[in-house]
Amino acid sequence: MIWQLDVIFCLFVIICAIAAINVKDLLAAVIILGAYSFFMCILWTEMGAVDVAFTEASVGAGVGTVLFIAAVNKTKRRSKD
């Protein structure tokens, strides 16, 4: 564990989370959530949880984002807040 790298990725995760809930475009919010998931999975690889990291990369970031995009495609893309 390299703590400088860890702190940087923690900051990236927080920035992505704040951006995901503040963007008005829902498709952009979903893509930022995918980026958040990938940063989270880098963080877990750093912490030695390799199995959790690749499950998150495939199931959490991959399938989750696809489901979100499909749902946003079937509904409205604009959000008021």
Binding site: M1, W3, D6, V7, C10, V13, I14, A17, I18, A20, I21, L26, A29, V30, L33, Y36, S37, M40, L43, W44, M47, G48, A49, V50, D51, V52, T55, E56, V59, G60, V63, G64, L67, F68, A70, A71, V72, K74, T75, K76, S79, K80, D81
Partner: protein, 134 residues
């Protein structure tokens, strides 16, 4: 003291993400935004559990790298201090899969809501429900 507090940056990240997720679930009016907040909340809890398993001071991934066949007949000595704690990892593996299943069901419900009310904003849905009395 300050150094001790700052060295627990994992747990600070966990706390901030928890607050962001909770705010999105309670404060935002769009239903997809609420769902995104729930996702952030779930991965914050997972981050907390993974942080429990981390050991400082030369510990590595819990994979045994010694030659198991060479030690045949002898006792293999494994020092637990050299490895991270794998129990929270295994528990959180299940939690990730469950969280994706929850998201899938929630999105299906969301599409049904959109088909019925033609909007995803919470206040507009409440207004329509009040007007029609349903």
């Amino acid at each position: 003291m300050l150094e001790y507090v700052l060295s627990k940056y994992n747990f600070w990240t966990y706390a901030i993400l928890l607050i962001i997720g909770l705010y999105a679930m309670v404060g935002k009016k769009n239903l997809v935004k609420k769902l995104i907040g729930m996702n952030i909340f779930q991965s914050a809890v997972i981050l907390f559990y993974i942080s429990i398993g981390v050991k400082k001071g030369g510990a590595t991934v819990p994979i045994f790298l010694g030659d198991a066949h060479a030690a045949h007949g002898h006792e293999i000595i494994i020092d637990a201090a050299h490895y991270f704690i794998p129990l929270p990892h295994v528990l959180m593996l299940t939690a990730i899969v469950v969280s994706v299943a929850t998201t899938g069901v929630a999105l299906a419900v969301l599409i049904l809501i959109y088909k019925r009310y033609k909007t995803l904003e919470m206040d507009e849905i409440m207004k329509i429900r009040q007007d029609t009395g349903a």
